[in-house]
Structures are given as C-alpha cells and as structure tokens.
C-alpha cells in the first residue's frame, strides 16, 4: 500500500524520462544516499570500511563498466583485469612522474589510458563475437600481465613490477583514514554511476542495446556497429580503468601485476551475471554479493560445521566459495538470466500489490 504509482501522472516527457519516475523510488534513493554519506561514517568500524565497504564501492564501479560492455552492448569480455591494470599503472605513472599532479587528474588520466587500451583490444569485436571475442580479450589480459611485469618503464623501473603510492590527498584533505577513503570512493562512484545511467538511457545506450539484440537490423536503421561497439569498449574500459586506479591507490596502496590477473576478470564477469546484465543497479547487487559472500561463508560455514562436529579449514572455505560461485552462476543462468536486478524488479512488482493478493 505504500508503493503505489497512483496519482503520479506525468505531464511532460521530461518527467516521464527521468531515472526514477516513481516518487517512492526517488525518496528511497535520497534516503540511501543520505545514509551512505552521513550515517555510515558514524556507524561503521575501520574493519567494515576496509574489508567490506571500500571493496564494495570500487567493485560496483568496475561492475558498472563491465556491465556496459557485456550487459548493454553484448560484447563478452574476459579482459577486465587488464583494463583495471592499465588504469592503475597509467594513473601511477602520471602521479609519480608529474610533481604535484592532483589525484583526481591522475585517476582520470589512468582511465584515459585504459580507454585507449580498450579501444585497441576492442577492435577484434568488429570482426568476431562470442567465444572468439572472449579469446581476443584474454589476449589483452595476458599481454597486460606481461607488460607490467617485464617492461620496466611502466613500473618506474621496479624489478618485480610492484609499486606503491602514499600520502594521497584530495583538495588538501588527507586520504589516509578509512573514512576518508570511503567517502572519496563513494563520491567518485556516485558521479560516475550517474553519468553511466544517463548514457545508457540515452541514444548511445539504445545503440548499444540494439547491437546486442540484433546487429544486422541495427545497421539497417543507420546505427554504425563499429561506432557503437568501440564506444562501448571505450566507455567501459574508462570506467574499469578508474576503478582499477582506485583499487590500486586507495584499497591496496601497494600492488603488483598479479593483483589484476585473469581471476579478477572472471570475478567482474560473475558480478555482472549474478547482479543482472544490462542493469546499472544490478552492478551494485553483483558487487555486494561477490564482496559479501566470502565473508559470509568464512563466518557461517565453520559455525554450521561445528554444529555437526566437523572442523572446517580455511582452505575448505575457499573451496566452498568456488563451488558456491560456480553453482550460483549456473543457477542464475538457468533460472533468472537477468540476475538479482530482475528478482528485485519482480519483488517491487509484488510490492505494488501488497497487501492485496491481486
């Protein structure tokens, strides 16, 4: 009875086209943002920031990027780890070599590097799709692994490829504390999520979805597949690159190429599949799920096992994690290919009727 569209008539197209046409949704979002910006800082412990919130924010950002490419434009990508790496090392190089470069500028430049890399390795998408495109993106992944390990220039001549940054600040405010890091990531995420949402509900988003659904018909109405696919790669890798730079600078502090291995690529893909392909909100769900699941399992499984008197090692928990991931991927693909976002939409539909049965 609370979630009703009754009486919410739109008299302009602008009102009908807005991101959240239903007033209750808008209120919910504002409350959530207020909560995230103003309440959470007082409620969360350092551990919560470090282990849950900051990874969640950064992965949500990366998942939005991957979703644009895989979910909206239908181009499968197993190379997201490489784009994160290019973003991270790109930002690093600018940050370290140009004295006094503001952090935000470095992050954006890292994103630009990732974007160029993404366009380059997105070129095969003009010729092939599906599995073959997946192979092309894997080429990007392994090439990037090698590039940052072996080409000394990228890592400021560090022999092992590992680098670090410190003393980060933004507008004079230090980013050492977990709270500051959290707020910074939250702000970046909010801005980029809004921009991304505008893109996907605009003309270019429709182009992407047209290419995904039927590229021959898209060409006939005047959509150029090349432009659509390459912009998808560009925008996606920019966002993933910025996320990679954030991951490196803010979360890790010190990193090496292995932090952006092919496992990271798979993780991002899983976030998008589980969260919901072709849905910005789904990216958040997917990221939350992937971040929370290991923590949940490592608390829950030993407790469950001790009920039956078995001891579970951490190795077993990580094996269980693999099984749960794999099993859930398969389950979602069979039962609800549109992921958690679809389940959420169904729940909202039911909520509109509540408490009435029909």
């Amino acid at each position: 009875m609370f979630y009703r569209e009754n009486g919410q008539f739109k008299t302009t197209y602008r009102a009908d086209q807005q991101i959240l046409p239903i007033a209750q949704d808008r209120v919910a979002l504002y409350l959530l943002l207020a909560f995230a910006f103003m309440a959470v800082p007082f409620m969360a412990s350092d551990y919560t920031f470090r282990a849950i919130l900051i990874p969640f924010l950064i992965f949500s950002l990366a998942a939005i990027g991957v979703n644009i490419l895989v979910g909206y434009c239908g181009q499968i990508s197993l190379g997201s780890g490489a784009f994160m790496a290019v973003g991270a090392y790109g930002a690093y190089n600018f940050f370290v070599r140009i004295d006094g470069l503001p952090l935000i500028v470095a992050l954006i430049l890292g994103g630009v590097c990732a974007m160029l890399f993404g366009i380059l390795f997105g070129l095969p998408s003009l010729r092939v799709k599906g599995l073959y495109l997946a192979v092309a993106t894997l080429a990007a992944q392994f090439f990037s692994d090698w590039m940052f390990l072996r080409i000394q220039w990228f890592t400021n001549n560090s022999t092992s490829g590992s680098v670090s940054v410190s003393n980060l600040q933004v507008f004079g405010l230090s980013l050492e504390s977990p709270l500051a890091k959290y707020l910074f990531c939250l702000s970046v995420l909010a801005v980029i999520a809004l921009l991304a949402k505008n893109l996907v509900r605009g003309a270019v988003g429709r182009e992407w979805m047209a290419i995904r659904d039927m590229d021959v018909a898209a060409a006939v109405i005047g959509i150029r597949p090349m432009y659509a696919k390459l912009t998808a790669f560009a925008v996606s890798s920019f966002i993933v690159g910025v996320a990679g730079a954030l991951w490196a600078f803010i979360y890790l502090g010190a990193w090496e190429p292995a932090a952006f291995s092919v496992d990271q690529s798979f993780k991002l893909l899983f976030m998008v599949i589980i969260g919901g392909m072709g849905s910005i909100m789904g990216s958040f769900f997917g990221a939350a799920f992937i971040v929370l699941l290991p923590i949940f399992l490592s608390q829950f499984l030993p407790a469950l096992a001790s009920l039956v008197g078995i001891e579970i090692s951490t190795a077993s928990v990580s094996h269980a994690e693999l099984m749960v991931f794999g099993g859930l991927i398969v389950w979602f693909l069979i039962v609800e290919p549109h992921g958690l976002a679809k389940l959420w939409a169904i729940a909202k539909q039911k909520l509109r009727l509540w408490p009435f049965p029909h």
Partner: protein, 289 residues
Amino acid sequence: MSITNGAGPSQDESASMGGSELHGVKSVGANKHIGDVILDVKNISLSFGGVKALTDISFNVREHEVRSIIGPNGAGKSSMLNCINGVYKPQQGSITFRGQTFGHMDSHQVAVMGIGRTFQNLALFKGMSVIDNIMTGRNLKIKSNLLMQALRIGPAQREEEFHREKVEHIIDFLEIQAFRKTPVGQLPYGLQKRVDLGRALAMEPQVLLLDEPMAGMNVEEKQDMCRFVLDVNQEFGTTIVLIEHDMGVVMDISDRVVVLDYGKKIGDGTPDEVRNNEEVISAYLGTSH
C-alpha cells in the same frame, strides 16, 4: 474508423494527399501524384555459393507510388530488398537512388539516404521497450555527443524530449499507446509488426521497404496494417515497396507490380496487366477451375 489527424512523423513534403478514411482494403488516393523514377534497379544478379538467388533483375520505382513485389516462396523477393538495403551485396548490377548509382549499397549509407525497412522475421530489439525500439529509428537524427549525453543537460535533454515527441506521434498513429513501455518480446506478433513499422517510420524515410508486413495476420489486423501503409503513402508521400502474398491487398493498393519467380522477373506493370499475364498466372496466381 478514422485516424487521428495530424498524427505521424512530419515530412518535408506537404501533407494532405488523398483520402485518409478507409473502408475495408480499398485504396482511394485519387489525388495522389506519382513522380519520377526515384529508385532504379538494373541487372541485379545475386548468388550464394552455387545458388542463384537473383538473375538479371531490373525494375524501377517511382516517387510516391506503391510498388509491390510478388512471387512464390523462394523467388528472391526478400533477397532483392536485402540488396537494396545493403544487407547483401550483389555480384552484378547496379542500384540508382535519386540519381546516384552504386554497385552495391552500404547499410548505413542507405539509412542516411532515407530508405527504411521492415523485416519478414521481425528484427526487433527484444530487450527494449516499444518506445526505445522506435527511438532507435531516430538515431540518425540525434546529434549530441557522448559527453553531452552523459551529462544530460541542456541541448542533450531537449533533444531527447524532441525525439520522444516524434516517437509518441508514431505511437499514436499506429495505435499502440497502451504498450509503449512493454518490452517488445512480450507483445503478440501483430503488435510487434506494428512496432517494426514504427521503427522504420521513425527514420522519416523517403522510401519504405516492407517485407510481408501482413504475414500471419487475420483479416482485421490486415485491414489495420493496410490502413497504416496507405496513410503513410498518401499523407506523407512516402514511396512504398511492398512484398506481399495476399493478392487482394496487392491488387487493391498497388500502383504497379513486379513479379519474380526463381530469381527472374516474369512480370512488371499495373495490377491489371500483371493479373492477365499468362506467365504470371501459370507460375503464381493460378486459374480458377
């Protein structure tokens, strides 16, 4: 049944051509003014590996007319449209549109030149709503770049609203208002065909290639579709090239007809001429016993 006045995409041509009130399937269009040749297909030959789909096909289409292409299944009708559209590239022959001649067409170029298309097997974007599907037809006319769209302020927002209004006119014209937010995959076949037409109309095309727009429809649905096609032709002057199997429709609404059989042209002329053509009768129309 009357159509909402003034609905539909605006055109450079002046509106008000011929009658828009329709009873049954009979066309009126007495005031229609058929122009010069706008599309000229010369000696088109197309083969796939060893299969010859089209052999030396030549015909022309005049501006503002309704030109039908008929023939048995497998005659090459869809392939012909695909050649005009740039989906297939013929091995021989040329296509001339408004004075420009091409050996083969490029899909994008064709769209820019103002040739729109519907598909026999419905190439709709199943994941998007009706509004979004038809909005994709407006794509060529949207000018804001990526950054403007991301920020969605000022010109970009106004552009979205402008095109949304155009799309709403098309939705009114095709009487699918109730389904505008539904994902097209969930719509029944007849409505999907209307969305396909709407998407092509959104391009504001000069020439509209319709590939069996009435296939699989019952009598009422066919009447509706005919009404739409004729309205587009008569009110907005759009040249129509139509593939259709229903002889009643073809003979009633066409100005001229091309008949294909096994990839060859066996008839070309007005409906009456074609109806009395021996070859066409034996190949396709059949005689009554």
